[in-house]
């Protein structure tokens, strides 16, 4: 069952208790997290996996990993260190990582962050509190929200619920559930009365990024074999033509080979 978080920005007051809970639950350094909030563009860093962002005047939204259904980072990681779990979270295995930072380049939401200040650095990002979810709990941020702006549950139900809310309050909400189709769908869904492109949302119909590379890479062995076959046949033709033209005598063949 794929789990999901539904975020209703109209209920978010920007109190950042979810961020504090995240820092607490993941044992991050709150002081460093504070510094990074002021010094990075979207407030996310290796010390701060979630952040409240201002999306419009007096309108806030939590930003962190979207846990895509077809994650670009998972397909990009060359050692298979990032996986999409059946429970929903996209989790990172620090024991495999070699630090190539391709996941950071590949993520369309700019989510993976690097521990630049460490001599032995790892990638850090929200893992939807995978251990808590596995034990049947909720992510720390959902637990911490005092206003019910974050709801945790199965993606299917939440999507239905979100569509109902949007349909019922047509005058307030923009009739769209962010995360339903973008990049092939995400496990973090947003409903809002303001445009959320500040969070990095693209056009609703944008396709999943692995779809751009995986069809190509699955053909790799055939391309390689094809090139080799072409080379051999071209070489065969050339040799035959040379033989026919009598351009190479035995002496030369011996010398050159």
């Amino acid at each position: 069952m794929t789990n999901s978080i539904l975020i209703d920005t109209t209920k978010c007051t920007g109190c950042e208790r979810c961020v504090a809970a995240c820092i607490d639950a993941n044992k991050l350094d709150p002081h460093k997290a504070d510094i990074d909030r002021a010094q990075t563009e979207d407030g996310l860093s290796s010390n701060r996996w979630a952040n409240i962002q201002k999306v419009a005047d007096d309108r806030f939204a939590r930003k962190s990993c979207m846990h895509c259904l077809e994650p670009s980072c998972v397909s990009a990681c060359l050692v298979g260190g990032i996986t999409k779990t059946p429970e929903g979270p996209v989790v990172y295995d620090p024991t495999k990582c070699i630090g190539c930072r391709y996941c950071m380049l590949a993520c369309p939401f700019h989510i993976p962050r690097y521990e630049w200040e460490n001599a032995v650095p790892y990638m850090r990002k929200c893992d939807m509190c995978f251990e808590r979810v596995q034990q049947g709990g909720k992510p720390a941020c959902v637990d911490a929200c005092p206003n019910g702006a974050l709801v945790f549950g199965s993606r299917k139900e939440l999507l239905q619920k979100a569509q109902e809310i949007v349909a019922a309050n047509g005058s307030t909400y923009i009739p769209h559930v962010w995360g339903e189709t973008e990049f092939g769908g995400t496990s973090v869904l947003y409903i809002s009365d303001e445009d959320l492109s500040a969070l990095g949302w693209p056009e609703p119909q944008t396709a999943a990024i692995p779809g751009l590379t995986e069809p190509l890479i699955s053909k790799t062995p055939f391309i390689g074999l094809g090139v080799a076959t072409c080379l051999l046949s071209v070489n065969w033709i050339v040799r035959r033509r040379m033989k026919l033209a009598g351009e190479i005598d035995n002496h030369e063949v011996e010398r050159n080979d």
Partner: protein, 667 residues
């Protein structure tokens, strides 16, 4: 004859030593301290210049191998060994740089065991690793020849054709994969460069670039070691030589040296490939409809045009004109332009194309330049070593080796030292190292460069005439604190209450702003002015006739103790009377560091609010939203919270209704 390579080798040694120091610092202090990479620009110079561009420029083994072994164009055979040497060094170079670039270098072997066959980086890793092994195998005959192991040489020669075929297939695969690496960034990479044709562009341009590179290296080799076959003028003009692709039959070819017709032919092929590449790129722009980005006049469009001119237009012009085609310098310029344009293209796709999306500009740090260029310089030194000691270009190495000039000892009149130490290369290089290593150390040492980024504190963004209400947003991050100054003053006891919040002012100054000392938003800042104290204390003591002048150090540091911050006595011991401190800074040493603006403000307000909330019976008094009105705005709109909010408002603004506040952001 003077040795033309000596100054170049010296420069390469200097660069390589700088790279060594940078490499040590990178391993010791980590990526963040030594590079300018950020979360917004995670890939930088080492990956893009050394890996993506470096591999692209080492395609010569692939292209020349194709010409010689597959198409059996025997006239290019003399370039086969140099081409493999270039490929070997180029791949070695990029793998070395990658070892420093990846965050956990001790795990470089992970992709061998841990597979993700969906990742193009995985494919690049394997192909590069295998191809490097293949170039190494192809290099072996040279080494065995030097060691006179004829049987092994023959054995290796027997397998050459197969190895070359495998090498070419691998090569074409990973060159396209290098392009495919950037397919995952459709929304990030600038429209001029992002295209689904990237893999084909990368293969095609790498083939042209590899040819340009081998032409360039062959001409440079002639310039350094053996000018006759390239720069010579002995042959009669129009000597029948190997066909020159651009010359019409029957036209006098006009070459005067042995190898120039071959090089001109090769450069023509390279320029031809590059032109096909350029045409395809333009076609692609039209296909994707992003050609208007080329005419937009942005700096990206200028880069793109420069790239096209350097890779294709300039080389094709230089090769098409007979005069420049027949001159080694002209041909060298064409090759250099092609190679440079190719490198520029890779930098565009890997770095420059991301600036607009990342909202930031990445410029590599000194250490990145030092290591990136140092690795290339080290490869250059290996090139010189191999060329001088094995028969890569020709069989003259033994004579060259024997006739190498020996430096003679000289007496330096100034220092009265015999510079006999300059007798051999070892002495020369160690002397370079003595100067270069410390200089590189000082210039690259991260601790001398990492200045703390300071968030500038600014005064309150707004206040009414009587300073009754202040709106404080010290770091301009948009989170305002509304502070009812007059109301607090009145409640805390009128004019005598200033001391409850405001503490020390500078001497003779009644209106020092808080940000004068609490000048950083996040970090504590050093505020103790040592030179001011030395002068002031000395003058005071002198006036009092207590000490001879300049004996003031001992007043604070204690006589006979080392004069450091750890042995100094506390500020409070002298400033007991004139330091009018309220509440907190009880340890006077902490006065050397003022807390950050945010900590100071929060500390002053929150301590008091926490203390008072029980007394006045308002449990929300110490919450963020009490002062940061912008955070409560949503609750105002929600009917269910209206009650709550009026209560909070009453605390912050006395009995005034919230709607009457002058804050524009509350609605």
């Amino acid at each position: 004859m003077t040795d033309r390579t000596r100054p170049i080798k010296d420069i390469f040694w200097i660069l390589a030593l700088c790279g060594l120091v940078a490499g040590i610092f990178r391993m010791w202090f980590g990526l963040g301290a030594t590079t300018n990479l950020t979360d917004a620009m995670p890939w930088g110079l080492w990956k893009v210049l050394n890996m993506v561009a470096g591999v692209a420029l080492s395609t010569s083994g692939f292209t020349v191998g194709f010409l010689v072994y597959v198409l059996r164009l025997e006239r290019f055979r003399p370039l086969m060994k140099p081409a493999i040497l270039i490929a070997f060094l180029g791949y070695g170079c990029s793998m070395t740089a990658l070892l420093f670039d990846i965050g956990l270098p001790h795990r470089f072997w992970h992709p061998i065991l841990m597979w993700n066959e969906h990742s193009f980086l995985f494919e690049v890793f394997w192909c590069v690793l295998l191809y490097f092994t293949i170039t190494f195998i192809e290099m072996l005959p040279n080494i065995f020849e030097r060691l006179r192991a004829e049987r092994l040489v023959r054995l290796l020669h027997a397998g050459t054709f197969g190895v070359v075929i495998v090498g070419i297939s691998l090569s074409s695969l990973h060159h396209s994969s290098l392009g495919s690496l950037f397919l995952v960034t459709p929304l990030r990479l600038h429209a001029l460069w992002y295209s689904s044709w990237l893999p084909w562009f990368f293969v095609l341009s790498a083939m042209g670039g590899g040819i340009m590179m081998i032409v360039l290296v062959r001409i440079l080799y002639a310039r350094w070691y053996d000018p006759e076959p390239v720069f010579g003028t002995q042959l009669e003009p129009g000597v029948p030589g190997p066909a020159d692709l651009l010359s019409l039959p029957g036209v006098s070819r006009g070459y005067t040296s042995r190898d120039m017709p071959m090089l001109a032919g090769l450069a023509s092929i390279g320029a031809g490939i590059m032109s096909c590449y350029a045409v395809l790129k333009v076609v692609d722009l039209v296909r994707l409809g992003s050609w208007n980005a080329l005419l937009a006049g942005t700096w990206e469009s200028w880069l793109y045009s420069a790239e096209l001119i350097l890779t294709a237009i300039l080389p094709i012009i230089l090769v098409a004109i007979p005069r420049t085609r027949r001159s080694p310098v002209g041909l060298g310029a064409a090759a250099l332009s092609g190679a440079f344009g190719l490198a520029l293209n890779r930098l565009d796709v890997g770095i420059f194309g991301y600036f607009r999306d990342a909202h930031t500009v990445y410029f590599p740090s000194l250490a990145e330049w030092a290591l990136g260029i140092g690795v290339i310089a080290a490869a250059g030194l290996v090139f010189f070593f191999i060329v001088e000691n094995t028969a890569v270009f020709d069989n003259n190495w033994r004579q060259r080796y024997l006739s190498r000039g020996v430096f003679h000892a000289t007496f330096d009149r100034w220092s009265h030292v015999w510079f006999a130490v300059l007798m051999s290369g070892v002495h020369r290089v160690t002397l370079l190292a003595v100067f270069v290593l410390p200089l590189a150390w000082v210039f690259l040492y991260p601790a001398y460069h990492n200045e703390k980024p300071i968030t500038v504190v600014q005064a309150s963004v707004g206040m009414d005439n009587m300073r009754a209400n202040l709106r404080i947003d010290g770091d301009r991050q948009g989170v305002l604190a509304e502070f009812a100054h007059a109301e607090h003053q009145q409640r805390l006891g009128g004019d005598s209450s200033c001391a409850a919040c405001h503490h020390v002012s500078l001497p003779g100054d009644r209106s020092t702003p808080c940000s004068r000392c609490h000048s950083d938003m996040i970090f504590a800042t050093k505020i103790f002015d040592h030179s001011f104290h030395t002068v002031a204390v000395a003058e005071k003591e002198h006036l009092a006739g207590l000490y001879p002048a300049n004996h003031s150090c001992a007043l604070c540091h204690g006589d006979g103790l080392p004069k450091t911050a750890s042995t100094v006595k506390t500020c409070y011991e002298c400033h007991r009377d004139d330091m009018w401190l309220v509440g907190r800074p009880d340890s006077a040493v902490s006065l050397m560091n003022a807390p950050s603006f945010r900590d100071a403000m929060h500390g002053t307000c929150i301590t008091c609010h926490t203390r008072e909330k029980e007394r006045v019976g308002r449990p929300q008094l110490d919450e963020c939203a009490t002062c940061h009105r912008s955070l409560t705005a949503r609750r105002l709109a929600t009917a269910s919270h209206a009650q709550d909010d009026n209560a909070l408002g009453a605390v912050a603004f006395g009995e005034r209704p919230v709607g009457a506040s002058d804050s524009g952001s509350s609605h």
